[in-house]
Structures are given as C-alpha cells and as structure tokens.
C-alpha cells in the first residue's frame, strides 16, 4: 500500500531530515511512526501526502510512484488520502459541516450525495448535534473530530494522522485514538505519527522508530523504544 524505497530528504543547505529510509506498509495495517522531535517522522507524513518531495529514492502509494508527482496530480493524490493534523487545520469561517463537506466539494461530488454523507460521518465522530458550529465554538477534542470526519468522508484507503493528540488532554486523546482504531477496523490503513509513549504502548500495533532521519526499529507489535 505505502512503500518507501531508500528515501532521502535533504533541506538546503545541508540538513538531512531523512537518510535512506525504506519500509513497506500493507493494506489495512495500523502503523505508528515514532521518534523524538526533529527525528524526521513528520517529514515521512508530509512525503506521503506530497507536501514535501523526496530528494532521492522512491515512494509508492499503491501502484503510483509519487516521488516526482506533478503539481496537477497532487490534488488527485490528496483526495485519496485522509490527513489529520496536530493543529486540526480547519477552515475558521466554515462550520463543522462545511469543513467536512469541503473535502467532497473540491472533488466535484454532487450536492445531494454530500447532504447524505456528511451528517453520517459527523454522527460517527460524535458531532451530529454540533454540525453547524464554527471551529471557534468547539473544544479542541471536537475540532480534532471534525478533522477526522473530513479525512474520512471521501472513504480513503489511507489515513495519515500527524500528532493528532498533540494538542489534546488525556481523555480527548484516548477518544481520538479509539476513533482511529475503529476506522482501522473497517479496513482503512492508518499511519499514526506520534511521539506519545503511552499511546504507542497502548496500541500494541506495528511501530516504526525513526532516529536521526533513519529507521532505527520496525516491530510488528512494538512499543515506544526511545528514552
């Protein structure tokens, strides 16, 4: 599903964010990518949804080599991957409903279909009653749920969550993780980028550990292994 082959990312002039990173994520897996701040784990997430491009190496999403993806193809790729961000990245002047609907509107999905799907997804994340509130009227946990609903709404095969609990308290963080596990249970591949030891240990799923831009560990039922 997601394959990194000897991927290097160099930020000019001489910062190596990633050096020769290789791994393979299978369909339906729940993989945690862990590492300390500055280790390069967020760069991996950005490479998957083409916010960054590799300096060398190859990245495959399914059969698609996105290493040299054209600007015109980037929106097409992003419509097939759901992304959840640490800072939620919601549009402040749109309601929860409109934020979720936006992900379908950019893809040209008919309005009738949007009216059917968006309330269902908001209900799944527990925000059925708060669909018409603006982000500023929602708590941090609720905003992250909107972000997850937006990532889910076009039924992507992959969800990339970059530090989704970073701005949340423990209770909200646990709820968000439960939600991501449920999404994974329905067959969606989940790539979780985090440095939260408790979350990684509680998941007991595959863990890829990044240290100084290199893969330092890859365990099937791993634990947080950094001190």
């Amino acid at each position: 599903m997601i394959t990194f082959k000897n991927v290097t990312k160099l930020y000019k002039p001489d910062t190596h964010a990633l050096s020769g990173v290789s791994f393979d994520i299978k369909p339906g897996e729940f993989v945690s990518i862990t590492g300390q701040s500055g280790s390069g784990k967020s760069t991996i997430a950005k490479l998957i949804f083409a916010e960054e491009r590799p300096s060398s190496g190859h990245i495959h999403i399914g059969d698609w080599d996105i290493s040299k993806i054209s600007m015109a193809d980037i929106p097409v790729l992003r419509r097939q991957i759901g992304v959840v961000f640490q800072d939620f990245k919601l549009l402040p002047k749109k309601t929860a409903y409109e934020n979720v609907a936006f992900a379908l509107e950019v893809a040209g999905v008919p309005t009738r279909r949007i009216r059917e799907v968006v309330p269902q997804v908001l209900k799944i994340v527990g925000l059925g009653e708060k669909a018409h509130r603006y982000p500023r009227q929602l708590s941090g946990g609720e905003q992250q749920r909107v972000s997850i609903a937006r990532a889910l709404v076009h039924r992507p095969k992959i969800i990339v969550a970059d530090e989704p609990t970073g701005n949340l308290d423990a209770i909200n963080a646990r709820e968000i993780m439960e939600l991501l596990k449920r999404i994974n249970d329905f067959g969606t591949t989940v790539v979780l980028v985090t440095h939260d030891r408790d979350i990684v240990n509680a998941l007991r799923r595959r863990v890829i550990t990044i240290r100084d831009g290199r893969v330092a560990g890859d365990a099937e039922r791993g634990k947080y292994s950094l001190s």
């Binding site: 549009l91 950019v106 893809a107 999905v109 309005t111 279909r113 937006r150």
Partner: protein, 315 residues
Amino acid sequence: MPSEVSIPCRNMRSFFRVIRFALQGTFRNFWLSFVTTSVFLLTLLTVNSLIALNVMADGAIASLEDRVRIDVYFTSNTSEDMLKSARGYLLGLTQVKTVDEIPEEEALAAFKQEHQDDPLVLAALDEVGGNPIGNALRISAHNAEDFGFIIEVLNSSPEYSPYIKDSNFSDSTTAIETLSAFTERVRIGGYALAGFFAFISVLIVLNTIRVAIYVHREEIAIMKLVGATDWFVRGPFLIEATLFAFIATVVMAGVTYAALTAAEPHLMTFFTGVDVALVDYFVAHGAVIFGAQFVSLMLLGVLTTWFAMRRYLRV
C-alpha cells in the same frame, strides 16, 4: 468517489461552488471585505475628483476663451455686400466660431473705448470729424491661439485687406498668449496630478489586496492540503476582487451623481456664472467613465490577487 459524474457536469458544479464560496467569504469576512471595498472606493473617489476638477478647469478655460473677441474695423466706404462677403469668408474658416456685424456707431464707440488711452488716435478722430469708422466684424474663435491665423488670413486677402482699417488683435495679443499658455499649463498640470494620484491609488490597492491574501494564507494552505486544485482555491478570491470592484464602482457612481447635483449650484456661484455642467458631463460620459473604472479596478484586483496568492499555493 462516484465515478458516474461527467467532467463538464463536475466543472459546472465546481464553478457554482466557487461563486458560492466567494459570496460566503465576502459576508463571513465582512470587515475585511468592507475595508477592501472602501480602499477601492477611495481610489475611485480620487480619480473622479480629478476628472471633475479637469472638467471644471476645462469649463472655466472655455468660458474665458469664449469671452475673447477680436473686432475688425472696416473703412467707412466698405459696402454692405463687401462686409457680408467678408463675414461669409470668415465663417468658412474652421477656426472661426462666430462672426457678428457691428453697426458703425457702435463700432466707433468700441474703437474710442479701445483707444481711450491713446490721445493721438482720439485727436485724429476729432480732427477728421464725423465717423471715419465703418461697420466692424466681431470674431470669436474656437481656440484663443487661432486669432493670429484668422487675422493674418484676412489681412493677406487682396479682396478684403484694402477695406480693413484696424483690428484690436495686436492689443489683445499678449492677453491671448497669456491665456493660451495658462490653459495649456492647467491642462498639463491636471494630467500630471491625475497620473500621480492614480499611481498612489494603485499602490494602495495593491497593498490592500496583498494584506487581505496574507490574512487568508493559512486557509489557502488548508484548502490545498484537503485536495483543492489551484483554480478551486483561487476562484473565490478572484470573484471577490471582482465583486469589490463592482460594488465600489456602483457606490461611486451614486455618490458622484448625488455630490455633483448638490454642488453644481455652488460651483456656478464660485465660477461667477460659468456653467461647468459637471452633472451633464458625468451623465453623458457615465457609462464610459464608470465602465472603464470598473474594468481597470477589476483587472488590478484580479491580477494582484493572482500574483499575491502564488506563493501561498505552493503547498
């Protein structure tokens, strides 16, 4: 993703969504929209004030030029037919606006008035006795600087020159030259001032739009990350710029009409009876003036938005 959606249908749907987002953005970012439209409005106010000033200056200058007349005095033996022929000849010149015949008594009075500071001429008149001045022609021209040419043509005509006794052209030459130079300077000054203020206005509009786009930079990035194409993100901002230009132009047209209607009587008093006809001018040329202003402002807004957004779309 539903695969049954055809591309033209999807494009049309996206087009209407872009319009909806533009209207949503305009109202939900009310203060930003208000400030941007106000800056557009101030730009148009500057431009229209300068147009009004130029029209007033032109009106005042034209009025001054209208008041300049040249009297050509004919000898007392000039026949009525010759005078009429000379009048017809003058009216045939494109530079000549009007030619009026002045009866000999009135011509003599005008001649005396003209030479009241010249005792030699007045003494000569007394010595001759009677009225040695025949009828006269009072000539007005479209442009003050054309009088020289008109008099030269008349004086060099073998048919009429023997009958011409005098004209007050040489006495008026300095005044006409001064007036011509002044009007030319006023016109050039008006254009320079208009150009300068238009330049400043353009800079203000450019900066306002850059700031407005900067305020939206994070939203632009989010839209891109969610899978929007550059066009889908740009569209609402371009439509908003067009909408602001349209609103500013419509408001400006209304304000201009109201302000000029209220101000015109006072302007007539200020210009001592000169009808500057500002309202008439704006009504007659309104479609062109405000149409050009809308198109210019829209192009300025759209192009600035386009370029200001480029860096934030690289996500």
